[in-house]
């Protein structure tokens, strides 16, 4: 995209996120559908719909950061950025006129029941980040992509992100198969965009805690004037910057480097985010003190998103043991 065009799209997402952010952990049930509908109307699913895509991965990563910066019930990753990329990769363009509007073109992605990348056949699956989705795309370890029907909602620790079961007897429609390079690209892309959304959440929450430290007074002065608090916030800031550098670079690699290199960069980014975004949010909560321990406060919404996100797609243990050895020479 041209720079001006990108900034326009970014501001659309920013405005959307401000307007549809939830104020508490109990959003009005009608809110979810209305917000997802409004997100759909932004037309972002087109960004990665064609080859070459209209938006770079780095641009999509920046949009994911914007979406992550507010507590939202909407699915930007699953239905808007991930599933369309998968469909693009398997060459199944599924243009809107091929699908009847009643059925809805909305797909999200299927993950293992523990939210990691799906394992060998026979493992339980769920549809992840599925607000507004009718079906879920499952990528088997061999690259085979199938489309599955969805079951009832699965409540989870992340109160905002939609997850639904995939019934074991769900009829699977095979859509195609990713070759080795496309499979690596897909994994790198998913890891990078999820990392970006989590970085956006951590950056925003740390920013809110810095603002709070300026306003909140104890012992007759702003708590942000105490060095103990300052050092906590400085550490959280450095952690967010480390996450930002790693995810931006991983996104750039997807745009410019071979898939194997992009996958390594994406794994590095996810490993950094798993640890550092969580630490940063924990620090933010500490600075907010008692108020952040309440149901009303947004802190736990950020914490829940980042904590569950840090185990989604790939856990720290998965990533660190993989990264501990040099990449096999292909």
């Amino acid at each position: 995209m041209q720079a001006e065009e990108f900034m326009l799209v970014r501001d659309l997402v920013r405005t959307f996120a401000t307007r549809f952010r939830v104020e508490s952990a109990d959003p009005d049930p009608s809110h979810r559908a209305a917000a997802q509908k409004a997100l759909g109307e932004l037309g972002l699913a087109e960004l990665r719909g064609s080859t070459p895509p209209d938006a770079t991965v780095q641009e999509c990563a920046l949009l994911a950061e914007e979406h992550g910066s507010r507590p939202l019930t909407t699915s930007l990753l699953g239905t808007v950025l991930l599933a369309p990329e998968l469909l693009r990769l398997i060459g199944d363009q599924m243009s809107p006129d091929q699908v009847s509007p009643e059925a809805g073109p909305s797909q999200t992605i299927a993950l293992a029941a523990d939210l990691r990348f799906p394992g060998p056949a026979g493992t339980d699956l769920v549809a992840w980040d599925c607000e507004g989705a009718d079906r879920a795309l499952h990528v088997a370890p061999d690259g085979t992509v199938t489309s599955l029907a969805l079951g009832p909602a699965v409540p989870s620790a992340d109160l905002l992100r939609g997850i639904r079961s995939v019934p074991p007897d769900s009829p699977a429609v095979t859509l195609g198969r990713l070759d080795a390079d496309r499979l690596m690209h897909w994994q790198a892309y998913a890891l990078t965009l999820l990392s970006s959304e989590l970085v956006g959440a951590a950056r925003s929450f740390v920013g809110q805690s810095v603002d709070y430290a300026r306003e909140r007074r104890q012992y007759g002065r702003a708590i942000g004037s105490f060095q103990a608090v300052q050092h906590l916030l400085a550490d959280a800031t450095v952690l967010v910057e480390a996450c930002t550098s790693a995810t931006r670079y991983a996104a750039w690699c997807l745009d410019h480097e071979p898939p194997a290199q992009a996958l390594t960069a994406a794994r590095v980014a996810k490993a950094e985010v798993n640890a550092s975004a969580l630490d940063a949010v924990s620090i933010g909560m500490q600075v907010f003190g008692g108020i952040a321990q309440t149901w009303e406060h947004v802190a736990h919404l950020y914490l829940r998103r980042i904590l569950l996100g840090s185990t989604t797609l790939a856990t720290t243990a998965d990533l660190l043991t993989t990264l501990a050895e040099p990449e096999p020479v292909r």
Binding site: F6, V238, A246, L319, L320
Partner: protein
Amino acid sequence: MTVTVTAATATDTPLDFGDPADLDQLRRRFRAWLAEHPLPERGADEPLPVFLHRWHRQLHSGGWVGLDVPQAYGGQGLSTLHQVAISDELGACQAPGIPRIGYLAHALLEFGSEEQCRRWLPRMLSGEDTWCQGFSEPGAGSDLAGMATTATRQDGHYLVRGQKLWTSYAQFSGLCLLLARTERADPATDPSARPHDSISAFALPLDRAGVTVRPLRAANGDDEFCELFLDDVRIEESERIGAEGTGWPLAMTTVSYERNALDTGHISRYGVLVERLRRSARDRRGELPDGLLSEIGRCYVDYQVLVAHTRRRTAERLAGRTAGPESSYDKLLMTRTEQRLYETALRVFPGEFFGEGESSGGGPLFGDYLYSRAASVYGGTSQIQRNIIAKRVLGLPSAG
């Protein structure tokens, strides 16, 4: 509640992490030169700084030092990125890096007169003059502005009296970038007087009468750090860099380059050790406990994040941003990487605890491990970096 992201950290537009087009060509030319001019052999009794100095002269003869310094002053008139690429290439083949003179050169370029740049920079780049940095003092470490060394003006010159500490390799240096107090502002009579405002910078030739250099043996056995005793040393007015009282901004410029991941050349050294750990993890698969395997993975993540962060800095510098208080992020991330890396390396290679080493007990990795403990101290402690981020990036209020 409104969410404000500080301007310094708001990077919400795409960045180009790629190398500028001509860098690839430069790298290839350098590799070809390196193949014909390999690293010299170090003599059996040759001190490391002497050996590194020979290497410096060899690199300079090929035109690989001071790439980012204007041609008028003996450089190549290219960008910092070009110099960084050369550091990177040297690291990749495990050769010692570019001599660490970049931050001194930047200080001269920014604060020195035309005449001073012409006089000192070409000889600094060529290695004819070796420089050291006389900033810290026994009573002025983190609180650098509290320095006590004075330069008293007398008949068109200065007399300098005081003591400097942690002056790396002063015993092998010909010149010292020295900070001293030219007038002592008295807070009793002038409440607005800051101790920072009376500091001036000088280029002091170390062979001058009244200078005594005493090496200080470090914990790892190396004689890197020195004490510098200054007893009524005469410094000419023409040897003052910048106006009187501008020593503090000069020092801050110097340290912010010293903290910037781009300018220090440590990163390639980390990369070599990380790959050694990863090869060991592969070769000893099943032998290393899972916890240690994860630590190696974590070291690799730290290192790659630092590389990504440096590339982001590069992209930002290309987009027109200069080194500022954000270089404290770089310093903290480098410290994190270095300290975990050497701790982990000792666990992977416990044999390094034994042997006599070059200058202390234990193997070479143990010496490097001890040096890594200094990473959170030199160039501003980790606590000072946090203060800088809190005050100058986040804008948090001061106490009182």
